[in-house]
Symmetry: C2
């Protein structure tokens, strides 16, 4: 019994159109969803279409609205998170109840509590969305499987980790050698996006300062020519 027989024609047509529209939307969603991801990887290694397909099996797309959490303190960090679109931030809460920003993650960046992710221990960090986000999640088994099936990706992982280490080391050296103002300027130079898209008190926390101190430092920088 064909569907057509059970419905008035105009309803059937309406259904078809809706269906097609949704299918189109889905296609767009799925193709767009991985765009930045594979672009980033292909800057370092080259994946064939087959390999990309393998990868997609282990990737879990997720949309996250502003202010929502993707990881909360006490939970185990089950996923390594890739930001296709939007802006995440990880932070801890100290004994006085203040947020302590650890990291920001823009489009094209990865973020996780690596320690919790590797060991399975509960995380001491929170990760939430500062903007509406489109994310790709992959768990540790997934990553291992991809590294097994696509050995090139192990190479990528190594290089990525190496770069992350160097960047953190550099951030450390800036923290201990540069003045407050120099640190802010470095950030402004390197990540103008972040400074524009993130409330200033979070920038302050990222730089290891109170909001008041950063505010005063900025004032000092404009006044004396």
């Amino acid at each position: 019994m064909p569907l057509k027989e059970q419905l008035p024609l105009f309803l059937f047509e309406s259904c078809c159109i809706t269906l097609l529209l949704n299918l189109a939307k889905l296609c767009l969603f799925l193709s767009g969803m991985y765009e930045v991801f594979f672009k980033k990887i292909n800057e370092v290694i080259h994946l064939t279409a087959d390999e990309e397909a393998i990868f997609k099996n282990y990737l879990k797309p997720k949309k996250l609205r502003k202010k929502q959490f993707i990881l909360q303190e006490g939970d185990v960090c089950k996923y390594s998170i890739f930001v296709e679109k939007g802006l995440l931030r990880s932070y801890s809460v100290n004994e006085k109840g203040n947020d302590q920003v650890v990291q920001f993650a823009l489009e094209g960046w990865w973020i996780a509590d690596l320690y919790s992710f590797i060991t399975g221990e509960p995380s001491r960090y929170n990760i939430d969305a500062l903007e509406d986000c489109e994310l790709l999640l992959i768990n540790n088994d997934g990553l291992k499987e991809v590294r097994r099936q696509i050995p090139k990706f192990l190479e990528f992982s190594f290089l990525q980790m190496q770069n992350a280490y160097i960047a953190l080391e550099r951030r450390w050296s800036h923290m201990v050698t540069l003045s407050t103002e120099e640190r802010y300027n470095k950030l402004l130079d390197k990540y103008p996006d972040i400074v524009q898209r993130v409330p200033q008190h979070m920038i302050a926390s990222y730089l290891g300062l109170t909001p008041e101190t950063l505010s005063r430092a900025k004032k000092q920088m404009t006044l004396p020519k």
Copy 2:
């Protein structure tokens, strides 16, 4: 014309004995020289004797006396350094001429200025020996070659880099969340060796403090029960 004919017998015997002694010393030197190195690697992956032999082709043993440099500011960091024995320290010198300790490396640890090592840019760090050391050096091409010939070693490199990243992240979080005294105690807990073998002003610098501040903090810790 045999050597024996040209020398009095007692001199010939003396030569033989010296030669044998030196050979024995050389063997001991060579076997001992790689002991910690392969022990460390085999904790993570298993290398066959053949693979160890391949590795040795690219390793350059070097002894370094206390106070000698293995890397100086302005030089390119050509080697990744493994400490078989002894204790190294990397540091930078700030504009006031003070040392700023970045890292210590005990037996079984690796040390380098990774940024300079990867990019070939001149280093901003110095690395010197705080004790007489036995080191194994390997350059970037050597590492790449070993990773190519022994794919397991790429896995090792990745895991090692991941651990280094996690450790640095942890050190960061301790730096920003813990008090001076808590930071010192953490170090005491985790690396009692370092605290005993390194002058206190270097510990202070490692913790981001002046020697005076650390001295006073220690005093505070003993007085009030």
